[in-house]
Amino acid sequence: MKAETNSIEAPATRAVNPKIFTMWLFIVSIIMLFAAFTSAYLVRKAEGNWVEFQLPNLFWVSTVVLLLSSASMHFALLAAKKDQFNALRISISITFVLGLLFLILQYFGWVQLVEMNVYFVGNPSGSFVYVLSGLHGLHLISGLIVLIVALIAAFQMKINAKALTQIKICSTYWHFLDALWIYLFLFLVFNN
């Protein structure tokens, strides 16, 4: 557009769609929430009286599953860009199933923790693992809802190469949830 060639900042030629921008701001607030928890973790850990334990093995499996779901989410976006509607629906469905599988694996990860006598109620070192993974899980459930909405839209043919905003929001949010979990997981691995 014309304005991009001169120095005037042009609201009308904004590069970012306000809806996508809103989602990024929402992501910033989630980052701050978890930044607060992980800094609280470090501050608390520095004070001593900290029970150490192994993280459940299943967390490794669930991490791989979540990474795979990010890949299928990416395929969904590619499919939408090429107007491949069947591939789009299938990719979103696979992402959804993998997301669900991730949550189930996280739950059994908690079961493993309990078997190791690490409970939600007890030394904060254990409680923090439950809080971090639990709150991430809650956010992932919100991601699943976004996926369902996108899937419905895909069946109504509302997502196509000319209407990509929704699938872009959906995929960015999903990749963010993936990255958030990898951050939390690595954080726990290195600071346990």
């Binding site: 014309k2 042009a10 607060a36 900290w50 109620v121």
Partner: protein, 634 residues
């Protein structure tokens, strides 16, 4: 509504308008959609304002009740029994637990519900779209949700005032373990649970609001409205929203961990506590951790409250001094500096928690740096007023009052920021005096300045000027009479939040009996004076003198809308912006103000040499019209 916009019509003809918001412009909304679940930023702003005013009277009356106890400890409060019931004990005195609840709820209500929601909620919503030239917020729906989350949170907080065990009583900072253990005090039972629930909803509301404000300011400015042509109000709302977006999630995390400790038995904040000889099972928690998390919000919150007031003051002072704001870019820079510094000074609230003295001196250093941008702002206000052609409207008086309070309260901040001096002054009335002047009263004056100044735009009518003057002088003198003496009681060692001072050494209580009574009388007079505002406000909504198009002869865009702007704000095109908003009393100009919509090509007599270069850009700005209209119809 009749504001059917010609461009929207065109696009309809082309048939690619799928945007719901624009459908609304073509038919009258029902009562519920128009006044209750409204998505119009102006209606939402009024909802915030009226909620804020109601909360302010509740919060203020709580303070009057505890001031009666502090000023007149022997007085019989039997006459309050019809209102407070069992909270007045058999001897006719205020219940001691309820005193703590009053202090806590006064702080919570004033900080969050009045000065956060009532101030930034009202004016960010009202002024952002009007002053940047947007039809509405980026998302009207999220904006509506933001208000109704706030309303729900308000209802829960209000209901906690009426439960048998009383509302939360651990101070507005709700430090654990006091707030975490129901055994510790009655207020830490159900009252605390309701407090946490209410605040969680409040945080959600503030986040939704803040996301909307940032997105709107960045994406929906009209053509020509570059960042350096934005009024300082908009800059202040922007920084306020950034502060909220980054700090409220941290309060949420602090509150969540407290909820887990209270309701699920975890030990994030609790460790090795005995109650009546019984050891609690909680091991390994750290109450200091809570303070870190809380003050990481708590300190930015001070600026969330203050920055909108400062921004509106800049606007009101420049308009009514008929002079350009002194140091426009310095004002932006100092607000940016305050925003950054706000995040790295939180531990100055924790000097006496046993923190490492070296760490204390780092935080002291950072804290004292805040004096620099604050002083820049103070000087800029004064130099804007200097030799100005001052019009003393009530809004102007409240703005000048803000500058006064900001300075006299800010100076004591330098004293309190010293970690060594703070050992003596921590949690005394000196602190109470400091933050009530610099943050409480200053922000309240900003709120009042905003209401008096933008009332004509909100309701299409003027507030009564004489009542405004009486309100101002009673409030201004009253606020100083209340808070200035508190510096003395604070230095004398009177601790805040105490029910009585009978145990104070050196016969301190007797020595300050008269001063405490004086403060209480001043508080009652100041609070009563707010009734003048209350009646003026509600009377003027319905019966005030009709407003003119631009009653204060102001430059900003909101005065180019119809006197009572409809949905979409402007009939026809949104105006373009060609100049900064502070061209007041420009040498050579015919009028003493040149609105932002007047191009430089129309004012050759007053253009500065560099402004003649701007004329070439005017065509480019005009060329953006089609793209701007397009953006509303995507």
């Amino acid at each position: 509504m009749s504001t059917a916009i010609s461009t929207t019509e065109e696009v309809h003809a082309h048939g690619h308008d799928h945007d719901h918001d624009h459908e609304h412009e073509h038919h009258e909304l029902g009562f519920i959609r128009k006044y209750i679940f409204s998505e119009d930023h102006k209606t939402i702003a009024k909802q915030y304002l009226i909620s804020g005013i109601l909360w302010a009277f509740i919060g203020g009356s709580l303070s009057i009740i505890f001031r009666l106890q502090l000023g007149f400890p022997d007085m019989s409060l039997e006459w309050l029994r019809p209102i407070l019931g069992e909270w007045i004990d058999e001897s006719g005195k205020l219940d001691k637990e309820f005193y703590l609840a009053l202090v806590t709820m006064h702080g919570t209500i004033m900080v969050f519900f009045v000065l956060t929601a009532g101030l930034s909620g009202t004016f960010s919503n009202f002024l952002i779209p009007l002053q940047i030239g947007a039809r509405d917020m980026a998302s009207g729906f999220i904006n509506m949700l933001s208000y109704w989350f706030f309303a729900l949170s308000s209802v829960i907080m209000f209901s906690s005032l009426f439960i048998e065990t009383g509302p939360a009583s651990g101070g507005w900072v709700i430090y654990p373990p006091l707030s975490a253990l129901p055994q510790a005090m009655p207020g830490s039972g159900l009252g605390m649970t309701l407090w946490l629930t209410s605040m969680a909803l409040f945080i959600v509301s503030q986040l939704m609001g803040g996301i909307n404000y940032i997105c709107t300011i960045i994406n929906l400015r009209t053509r020509g409205m570059t960042f350096t042509k934005m009024p300082l109000t908009i800059w202040s709302f922007f920084f306020t929203a950034v502060l909220g977006l980054l700090s409220f999630p941290v309060l949420l995390s602090a509150a969540l961990l407290l909820i887990f400790d209270r309701s699920f038995g975890t030990s994030f904040y609790l460790s090795e506590i005995y109650i009546q000889g019984q050891a609690l099972p909680n091991m390994g928690g750290s109450p200091i951790l809570y303070q870190h998390l809380f003050w990481f919000l708590g300190h930015p919150e001070v600026y969330i409250v203050l920055l909108p007031a400062l921004g509106m003051t800049s606007e009101v002072i420049a308009t009514n001094a008929r002079k350009p704001i002194f140091g426009y870019r310095a004002m932006i820079g100092s607000m940016m500096g305050i925003t950054v510094l706000a995040f790295i000074v939180w531990a100055h609230h924790m000097f006496v928690t046993g923190m490492n003295p070296f760490l204390g001196s780092v935080f002291m250093f950072l804290t004292l740096i805040i004096a620099v941008p604050s002083a820049v702002k103070g000087f800029n206000y004064i130099t804007t007023l200097w030799k100005g052609n001052i019009v003393f409207t009530p809004a102007m008086l409240f703005s000048i009052g803000l500058v006064s309070l900001f300075i006299s309260g800010g100076v004591t901040g330098i004293i309190l920021g010293n970690s060594a001096l703070d050992i003596n002054l921590h949690d005394t009335y000196f602190v109470v005096a400091h933050f009530h002047l610099v943050m409480g009263a200053a922000s309240f004056f900003g709120l009042m300045a905003g209401v008096y100044h933008w009332f004509p735009k909100m309701f299409g009518r003027m507030m009564n000027k004489t009542a405004g003057y009486i309100h101002f002088w009673l409030t201004f003198v009253g606020v100083y009479a209340v808070f200035f003496p508190m510096h003395y009681t604070g230095i004398a060692g009177f601790p805040r939040r105490y029910y009585s001072f009978t145990a104070l050494g050196n016969d301190g209580e007797a020595a300050f009996t008269d001063l405490n009574a004086f403060i209480s009388v001043a508080a009652i007079i100041t609070f009563s004076a707010q009734a003048i505002f209350f009646f003026n406000f509600f009377y003027s909504i319905f019966k005030g003198k009709r407003a003119t198009q631009n009653p204060w002869k102001s430059n900003t865009l909101e005065w180019t809308t119809p006197i009572v702007p409809g949905h979409g704000n402007w009939e026809g095109e949104i105006p373009a912006v060609y100049r900064w908003p502070y061209d007041y009393s420009k040498p050579g100009a015919e009028s003493d103000f040149i609105p932002q919509t007047v191009p430089h090509s129309a004012t050759p007599e007053s253009n500065l040499p560099e402004e003649n270069d701007e004329i070439a850009k005017e065509k480019d700005i005009e060329g953006l019209l089609a793209a701007q209209n397009e953006s509303y119809n995507r």
